[in-house]
Amino acid sequence: VSSHLSVVERRNAVASSGLGAAPVDPRSVLDPDRWPALVDRIRADRLEGLLSLYATDSGVATERQLDQSRELHTAAALLAVHLEQRLLEVAALFDEHAIDFRVLKGSAHAHLLYPEPALRSFGDIDLLVRGDRIGEAVRLLTELGGRRRFPELRPGYDRRFTKGVAVVLPGGDEIDLHRTLAPGPFGLALDPGELFEREQAFELGGRCLPAMDPADQLLHSCYHAALGRAEPNIVALRDVAQSVERPGLHVGTALERAVRWRGRIVVASSVALAAGMFGLAADMPIVEFAERYRPDRTETRWLATYHGSARTTANQALASMQALPGWRERGAYAVAVAIPTTRGSIPHRWRRGIRQLGSR
């Protein structure tokens, strides 16, 4: 049995850096044989800032590992400020065309949730845009030379149903324009319009940029952690831990919104995971809620479509129809995913999902 931590255990210890919780095993030196795999994992998970803190503070890194962690952190910081230059450029463009937006995740979380922005690394720009303006926002970015990652499934799909549109600008910078906060039923069950009724600002390069308010930021972090990938997103879980300890957060407000969005199961599961991983105090109201919450059958069924064997495009499409208000919306959604007009370029996962729908 190895005396060293596994790569995942070490990654989790790195992700806990600076929170006051004890690392998994502070006595264990960083295993030189596992170091390259750890570095790959850290880069994939965007934890370079926290690795640098961990390597400096824990005393378990060799000089060479310390140097490498600083170089990784420098590269991540260079990317972050480059992306923020791009963000300011896009913000000015959207302002010029009166396109309302909110900065999501990376830059907004780095400046609003973390004691040092350098601790929160990120690799793209995420903006929330109103559904009825997303087409114009995409057009403006394509005029800068950008190209969509995936075509629109059917005219009107972006405006009404999409989670978002990814645009890659010349040079490779990716801008994700979000219409809502999650794919599938949980993203369709909330009204994205209400996210524009409130905001908080952060300062960047001499100008104020709008982000979501603290309660919406917490909810989005929970959604991102639990619904983004098959595995919980560790940076988003760390964002949850940062969010719940933020003085400006009103937990009751966040939970009221989660009720309206039918997303209490997402909040409960993400907060419970974050509490276990980062040692959040059990008497925090949001942690108490997560421990005692019992989801209903619909929420449970919806959440199952994001994980494990039930994570299929067809299952998520069926659950999504249930989340939509009214038969007209459901019909339009079903037609869009079952009979897309962009046949020649439908992403593989959609083709597979459409086949699955047809076989039911």
């Binding site: 640098s52 803190l53 400096t56 600083r70 952190h73 420098t74 910081a77 260079l78 972050a80 400020v81 480059h82 923020e84 230059q85 791009r86 300011l88 450029e89 040092e116 922005p117 350098a118 960047l204 390069g205």
Partner: protein, 78 residues
Amino acid sequence: LWRRLTDRVVVAGSSIAMAPVVLNETGALVWDLLERSLTLDELVSELRLLRDGPESLIRDDVVDLLQQLCDREVVVTP
């Protein structure tokens, strides 16, 4: 636009055309001192408390760095 790292500072220029730069050692110290409103003489005098070397060399380093930051429109002269 900048990031403070453990032993260095990463600073972006005023436009996307200017690639960000990394300030090490004296550069990082000067960047931190720029938080305070100091004259050139005061900057040099503060730096002499933090690092060894002749005053003229430190002054040259500071002037060179400030010129680079001005060129990138990261700092402005009054």
